[in-house]
Symmetry: C2
Subunit: 458 residues, 2 copies
Amino acid sequence: MHEALEFLKTHERRALEELVEFVGIPSVSTDPAHAGDVRRASEWVAARLRRAGPIHVDTWETSRHPAVFGRWDGAPGAPTVLVYGHCDVQPADPIEAWHSPPFTLTERNGRLYGRGVSDDKASMLIPILAAEACFANGRRPPVNLRFLFEAEEEIGSPSMPGLVRAHRDDLACDVALSADGGMWRADRPSLNLSSRGIVALEFTVYGPAKDLHSGRHGGGVANPLHAAAALVASLHDADGRIAVDGFYENVDPIEPAADAALSRLSFDEAAYLKAVGAPATFGEPGFGTLARQWHRPTIEVNGLYGGYQGPGSKTVLPSEAHVKITCRLVSRQKPSEVADRVRAHLERHCPAGVTLTIDIDEGHGAEPYRVPADNRYIRAASETLTEVFGTPPDLVGMGGSVPIVTTFRDTLEVDTVFFSFSVADEDIHAPNEFYRPDRFRLGPRAWVKLWERIAEGF
Amino acid sequence: MHEALEFLKTHERRALEELVEFVGIPSVSTDPAHAGDVRRASEWVAARLRRAGPIHVDTWETSRHPAVFGRWDGAPGAPTVLVYGHCDVQPADPIEAWHSPPFTLTERNGRLYGRGVSDDKASMLIPILAAEACFANGRRPPVNLRFLFEAEEEIGSPSMPGLVRAHRDDLACDVALSADGGMWRADRPSLNLSSRGIVALEFTVYGPAKDLHSGRHGGGVANPLHAAAALVASLHDADGRIAVDGFYENVDPIEPAADAALSRLSFDEAAYLKAVGAPATFGEPGFGTLARQWHRPTIEVNGLYGGYQGPGSKTVLPSEAHVKITCRLVSRQKPSEVADRVRAHLERHCPAGVTLTIDIDEGHGAEPYRVPADNRYIRAASETLTEVFGTPPDLVGMGGSVPIVTTFRDTLEVDTVFFSFSVADEDIHAPNEFYRPDRFRLGPRAWVKLWERIAEGF
């Protein structure tokens, strides 16, 4: 049989011990107090990558946390794949909600609990284990390899666009394979073919120069909270369709392939509602819940506040109201174009008696991303998952935004295949994050097979 | 000449020294740390009242801060007047914004600065000085006197309704004269003929059971902030008229007398806008700014909040949205009836996909109050002010709510005349609260004259 798979099987226990070690480093990138731990995690990754085989490993410093780069060019004529992942994690707060110490990987009820195990430590360790298995006993991986493991993903990957541009030649490849991402369901494999774009903006409605007594002044001047509410209400019509002029202009109908993929999925709406605890699904008429989450744009108010928030009542006519918004984008929507349309809408609909300022967060934009189902690397991934899981993967979308994929697309001119063995239900960013041990065993085998398929098909 | 007025003139300096002493007691009723100071202020008032003449003085304990009661019945056949005021004050925060220590009465630019000097210490000391002047040299006041000085006004007078009911016989009188209130303008006298009622409610819109990622779930379930904004927006039509079914049902047209009073006032809208710093006036069409503030009802959102409020953006689809509302009432509107109408409106207009709870704050209700301009005591007050200021008072309304006047009306069956020498611009509840020394001199003379007029006209 396959020597690499053999190697993986005999080294499963060691792999798990390494995962314990890796999760044990509290590499919380958002917390300056953990900056040293984040560096330790990067060093751990660099050392582990060196141990995996004759890979040239570098540390790329940034103004925050270092990224680890690896390169192996021993398969002339074969394609080059770029493996992406991240070794930083979310904070563990609220600590008291954890049933075991967050930075002590703990097996319980057939699950591995620990902060960052699903997002993204186990999933990014997997391709390193796969590479090692390919190198074992003097053999060689079937493809040329690039590795890029950053340590700033949980703070929005601020250094990535610049780093990728600066190291464009080092990173040149035929396809990017992301170990970050995650499958849609625990009981079936899935492949993600799209992510939505995003643009963030906030607006402030100003009324009087200071908070006024709502008895003395109420009825005399406009209340900024009324105006802000009217503006927010004006963004959608009553049944949930976006009412901003031209918002849907660059939104294409859902592609037949994506539509067909949706219709093949079994989505249990009642189970979904139970999981999120909402009384009903709701959104743009004419589309199912998954279509709305993956393939249709949204305007979502993330925060709205003004006036008194304490207990009881306070008779204030507040001076200001604040609204934070993010839009999710699809098809050919561009962050700046959509932001401009929303801005124009807000300015046109601003009620009398108040003034309005709008700030567009230029740093928080990402374009929508989509890779066709017949993309050769998607096909290779699909065949691999079919072989490994014994069932073809669901073809799914991602409602969230993944700026790194558009960075790879725009700078390296390659598509990205999400090939992660995390599952969306593993409580990432929440207490009691976990990973499934069978997926930690399965993952490296799948990566080996994927590289082989990519090499064959080339 | 008039001996009482003579006495006041020769004791002006001492009166000012007493005001310094009174303001020096930091009787902040809302802060438990100052409970002892509040008691000291009450004791100071009781002692001062005893010194003013042969007045029977009692302290009425409550579950919070004591009230001071005074009684003198030496004018048989003459009417009995109840003098109301309060000796507690607002907190001094933000202390750093004060130009002199808040509890050290400081004369500067012809003004007396100190916390509580306008609301209500100088204005409530005035009738005590007036009574003393009437008693001086063995003379007697022309009317029977009751005094009620509470120490809980700044926390909403929670003990007052019960205290007034329990001491109904002690407080029995022909009219209440409030030393709390304040005139509309500094350059002219005014008499207030009405106050608006109030009812408070809050509602919460519930969506998912926990905050969701707005990328993954946005478009799938309803956003409680969108629903809350739609509900708030539904309360008014675009030009500011209240859109709640039946809200205006018990609102009468502005009475001809009130309308005539409004048309006699010179209101400088530009100066008002400058003072409050608002870009424009705004409200129910068909009414002027003062009419809207004094004689028309409002629905005012005092607080609205949900989701993320920190810097930058956070992609959250929040679980809840909160809205705090107070309505100001006029004419025959009742707090509970109006609250029920708003509740019915919210329930009827609640968007799909969310649930709604509504809490009506039964403790925070007050009925509207109005005293006719031809009321005999108003007439007496008007004539007195005309004599003292050399010009007839403006007849004005009060946009705020004064629960004590409906307590007096309902329990003692008397009207209340606001006879305060504070002015609305004296930064009460704000840093650098002040009083006008000429009004502190004028006030006691006016009270003596008012009592005389009331006795004559009886």
